[in-house]
């Protein structure tokens, strides 16, 4: 079977970096580009981190295209408490030798989608600003994208940025609104499932034993993230962004439900809340598949195995 061709739209971000590495470690996936957006960090850091992580994995042939500097309407917000000042925790990666492609991520996504209609899957794992702008700028974009697999939202789970809202959706709720109602086939990976995929201290220690730049990077990068997760009462740190790739490498681990999903953009206490009409009260047709359950430990084990083999390949 041919590997699935994907572009990841990302704001790296520790778990974003883990998602790239998992994609590179997975023969089922052909990672064709990274487009960047503000989110966990500012755009300059996001693009730098994307290039640096690809270099770490000897994958600099994969293009990086820099995207949105600001959310559409809401003010910029970066989450240094989770991801560290640099966005990659306590890990140190040298200044990348490669540069992003010229041009804007929005135009790159539009061109790639229109060049091969129905072929391209996009995995947005940050705020949805780039995707929303592509939809509004080029009306043919929505019909040309094969699917979106989005890390975002908290359906029945509490929020991680307000009591109700999940970070990626909260940072640019208007963009999420545009994307959710665009008609593009969507699979949503919300906190409801990512919080069941916890990377624990002993698993990080297991990676640290491998003498490879990749495993060392991961153990250094997740240090801050783990501490912050412990402080919040979790027993590990969530593999939010990598879990999107389970839709390709282990779809049997996910339970998907079709729902009508919307985002509150009215600016009150529920601003940025992603809600699903589980009881079909609105009678509106479903606009996406939502992962509502996952066999989390199995996914984390799969993640570890893939990263271990990628690390071992890159030791010598």
């Amino acid at each position: 079977m041919n590997p699935k061709r994907i572009i990841i739209d990302t704001d790296p971000g520790i778990d974003d970096a883990l998602a790239f590495l998992l994609a590179l470690a997975s023969p089922e996936i052909q990672l064709e580009a990274l487009t960047t957006t503000q989110g966990n960090v500012t755009i300059d850091k996001a693009t730098r981190n994307a290039l640096a992580v690809l270099e770490l994995a000897n994958a600099s042939q994969i293009p990086v295209i820099s995207g949105s500097v600001l959310p559409l309407v809401q003010p910029l917000r970066a989450s240094a408490h989770i991801h560290g000042e640099s966005g990659i925790g306590n890990a140190y990666l040298p200044e990348p030798q490669t540069s992003p492609l010229p041009g804007h991520a929005v135009d790159y996504l539009i061109r790639r989608a229109l060049d091969e209609p129905g072929e391209l899957s996009i995995f947005p794992i940050g705020p949805l600003t780039d995707i929303a702008m592509a939809i509004r700028k080029e009306p043919a974009f929505a019909g040309a994208v094969r699917e979106l697999v989005i890390m975002g939202g908290a359906i029945l789970e509490p929020g991680n940025i307000t009591p109700l809202a999940e970070f990626n959706v909260y940072v640019d709720p208007h963009a999420a609104h545009i994307v959710f109602h665009s008609g593009i086939p969507i699979t949503l990976i919300p906190l409801d499932v990512t919080h069941k995929c916890m990377l624990r201290q002993e698993q990080v220690d297991r990676l640290r034993k491998i003498d490879s730049p990749i495993s060392q990077f991961i153990s250094d990068a997740v240090e801050v993230y783990l501490q912050e997760s412990f402080r919040l009462g979790y027993d590990g740190c969530s593999l939010h962004d990598p879990l999107t790739l389970a839709t390709i490498i282990a779809p049997e681990l996910l339970t998907l439900k079709e729902y009508f999903v919307d985002v509150d953009i009215s600016g009150g206490v529920s601003m940025g809340k992603t809600f699903a009409d589980i009881q079909k009260l609105t009678k509106k047709p479903a606009n996406m598949k939502v992962a509502m359950d996952v066999r989390g430990e199995e996914f984390v084990e799969l993640f570890l195995q893939r990263i271990e083999s990628l690390s071992e390949r890159s030791t010598g």
């Binding site: 559409l72 929005v106 702008m133 509004r136």
Partner: protein
Amino acid sequence: MYMPKRILFDTDPGIDDACAILLALASPELSVEGISVVHGNCSLVQGTTNALSILELAGVSHIPVAKGCALPLVQPSLLAPETHGNTGLGYAQLPEPRLQPIGQHAVDFLIERILAAPGEITLVAIGPLTNVALAIRQEPRVVGAIKELVVMGGAIRYEGNTTALAEFNTYVDPHAAHIVYHAGIPATLVPLDVTYECVLTPGDVERLLKIESPVTRFVADATRFYMEFHDQYQKIEGCVINDPLALALTFAPELCTYRDLPVDVDLSGGISMGKTVADFYNYGKQPANLRVALEVRARDFIELFLERIERLALSSKP
């Protein structure tokens, strides 16, 4: 040496947009360097056709027209056929244009032209602000490179023309207006408070028609529809021509008086959705972000409009 002011239009033509374009072409103080089209008074496709037709009507073929956004950012599409007629130009019938739009997207066109001449370009935005907002978000350097932005939009101490509170351009894409108002561009807002003072009367149109020309015939046919609309809905004898005033302020700022005010747009989705709010007493302790036109010498403006259209009609007379 006297240099005309370099302007770009972002527009949804639209009867009064068409009048604004004609006024610009008739004004030696201005050099119109391009027209970007956005959804609004009529669909993007219709608006693009109209922009091209109006240029042909005025005998102008060198000004590029770029197609932009067909939909508002977040809100559902809202067009205004009851105000502007099914073609967007009232009863005017213009031939299918031979001119074509350029291939470049309006957002990219605005970015390219503004960055190519930092501090030189005045952008006159007289439709919903979707194109301008996307240009700002795609290329933040646009903010520092625009000389001045003049926006026709909002109703400050005036009732709305689309909801009880909200003015059409802002209501159609309030999120885009929010982006543009808070972008930090030196901007003048031309709200209904001043544009609704500027009434083109049936007598004014009769005066124009004394010159036999396709331009005067167009203004008469287009505005006749507008007058019927205004008579039916707003009990105004004549029609208000919102957009030409915004254009005129680029070279005749003395027509209005202004105040620098903190201005915001309601996005909360309730009864005041899309309402443009100015904080006259600075309750919110925010710095002023827009210069707002609050009073106008309306008859002086109408006189200027008529003289300029007459001049254009005479110069383009076949």
